[in-house]
């Protein structure tokens, strides 16, 4: 999952990036509204965290422009503006959630998870065939056997399972699992897929990830052993 933080305060952007990367997110940071909006409109993010009072273009305006461009990407407002009118104004401008500063990091994580929660499942867990992954604890189970994955492997698997039964192109995978500083050498994906397949095979789900030659990879719910 790839996130964009638009926040002018380097201290806040810094610990958010640190903390979220530890949670297996790929994180980009923009320090003003204009570059933030540019990034948001040119890349495919899974979620935006936007401060209200930022240079160049205000957070509200960034939010409006993104919605105007037809994007439904979840937007979380993260701001010191805390009056009722501000909250209502922010949400009405197109934000999905509104978090007041100072905030608890755990709460922010939980609210981010809410945005990714599967609409037809009661809990946050994701599954494909006999494989279950828990994005909260970052645990992966094949039946009752736990598989230990590195953060990148987990993020890659999570992305594929969230988009199961859909073909994920290499460039899309790069966009959603790696941050902007990664040069788009897609061959690294093949390396990680090999690692993942090896670990899944050991747990008995070897053919979960299938290769679509010349395009990318797919995880299918059906047609697996």
């Amino acid at each position: 999952m790839r996130l964009l933080i638009i926040e002018d305060e380097p201290g806040i952007a810094g610990f958010l990036k640190d903390g979220l990367e530890e949670e297996y997110f790929a994180v980009d940071v923009a320090y003003d509204g204009k570059s933030g909006l540019d990034l948001a409109l040119t890349n495919e993010y899974d979620l935006l965290i936007v401060d209200w009072m930022i240079p160049a273009i205000s957070g509200i305006e960034v939010c409006r422009q993104i919605r105007k461009a037809g994007s439904l990407v979840p937007i979380l407002f993260l701001t010191a503006k805390d009056t009722l009118e501000d909250v209502v104004f922010g949400l009405d401008a197109g934000a999905n959630d509104y978090i007041k500063k100072p905030f608890e990091f755990e709460e922010l994580l939980a609210r981010i998870r809410v945005q990714f929660r599967n609409k037809d499942r009661a809990d946050d867990s994701l599954s494909a065939g006999s494989l279950t992954i828990n994005p909260v604890t970052h645990q992966v189970f094949a039946g009752s056997t736990e598989i230990t994955l590195t953060p990148k492997e987990f993020a890659l698997l999570e992305y594929l399972i969230r988009n199961k039964d859909r073909v994920c192109t290499r460039s899309r995978i790069i966009e959603h699992v790696w941050d902007i500083h990664f040069d788009s050498d897609t061959s690294v994906i093949d390396v990680y897929i090999t690692f993942l397949r090896r670990k899944l095979e050991a747990a008995g789900c070897g053919n979960l990830i299938q290769t679509i030659r010349g395009v990318g990879y797919i995880v299918r719910e059906t047609g697996m052993v």
Binding site: G19, A56, K101
Partner: protein, 496 residues
Amino acid sequence: MKPSALKGLSVMSLRNRIALYYTIATGFLIAIVFTTIFFMVEKIVYKQFDDQIKKEISEIFDDSDISPNNFQGFDSFRDIDAEHNDEKGDHQHEEEKHKKKKLKLDPEFIQLVNSNGEVINKSASLSWCVLTFQPNQSGTNYFNSNFGGSMVRQAQVPLTNADGKNEGYLIVAVPLKNALIVLHDLKDIFLFSFPVILLPLFLLTRSIAIKSISPIEKVIATAERMSQSNLDQRIPLPFHHDELYRLASTINALFGRMQDAFQREKHFTADASHELKTPLAVVKGTLEVLIRKPREREHYETRIQFCLKELNRMARLIDQLLMLARYESNKMTPHIVVTALSPLVENVVERMIPTAQAKGIAITVNQENNAHISADPGMLDMIFENIISNAIKYSSSGSSIAIEVKHDEGNVICSISDQGIGVPAEKLNAIFDRFYRVDESRSSSTGGLGLGLSIVKKLADLQQIRVSVNSVPDTGTTFTLTCQTAESPYPIELPC
């Protein structure tokens, strides 16, 4: 006036009060006019009667060929009663007849009394009645007298003999009945019409007053609607450029200033909360992320250092806010003494040079000697430090900051010029506002807290130092402090 009446007047609406005062004043004038008219009419009417009496008296004396101061006995009055004159000669007949007619239409009463007031003779028109002799009335007066239940106009002519001794009086009277009715009616008309005029006058004045003060009602209505949430309301200006127009525009200007003040206060609260919450959020968030997992020692150290830096910044901010608050509530008064400017400026510059050099900025000082001003040295130090550190913050490497101190017509002028980014003219007024930053992003990349210039302004105001600022974007900014010269407490040291 009774207290209750006073209270009644104090709660009375302006329109009613205007109408009341106007009605009282007009009523007073009308009363004077009515009274004057009444007395003039009365005078004219009585004059008619008095003339008639006078004429009759002279006729009586003429007919009898006597005069009042040549009394020769009551018998000499021949023509006291016109009706007795029938026996007179035929040549006078027609004239007598005419006279009789006149007497019937306009009867006169004639009576002779002696000096004791006893009736000697009287005209037949008096019948059995007697005219009342009033000894206290002098001969030239005409007066009203009661005669058998009705009023008459009466005159008493004293009759004196050749020696000047009073022998009696000739009393002549005419009935006043009709005239009195007229006068009485006139009085009734006046008394009745007075309130009848006053009531419509009051109502009319009241409606005029309502119309003329209707703009005030608008002022009241607008002011009542006014609250903190809709300070943009303004009173519609009346058509005529009169006092009410001025009132409305003055109040509108007041509303404008209030709106500005509220706006500034709101801004300040929002800014202060942002400035305080941000470092708090940074520290809190950094520590929260830090504690989630065990980490390398080096990682801990960099994060904790970072948090300390943020906390120090916050502490500085709180200090400055508290200082401003104390100055603003006037709990701190400047300790004003005669201060030598040169050593103070040099001292501040010395402190600032390391910061400036780190950014590659040069500071030049050009001071006239013996500049002494009345100021609080501690506060003055803070003013210079804030302005110079501000200049360093917004200047780029390779530029210079020039500080100049010179005398000018009893003042000492200190100017601090930088070659920094400058301030657009329209934002120049706001730079002394708390937390105001020309760059609206509130970016703290310059390391400033946004309070420095507010403190400068406050401290300067406390010491009666005038601060002005000139700026050209991308060229530089000049702050000018105008201070009053103080006499040097020491004799001027001449160079050896």
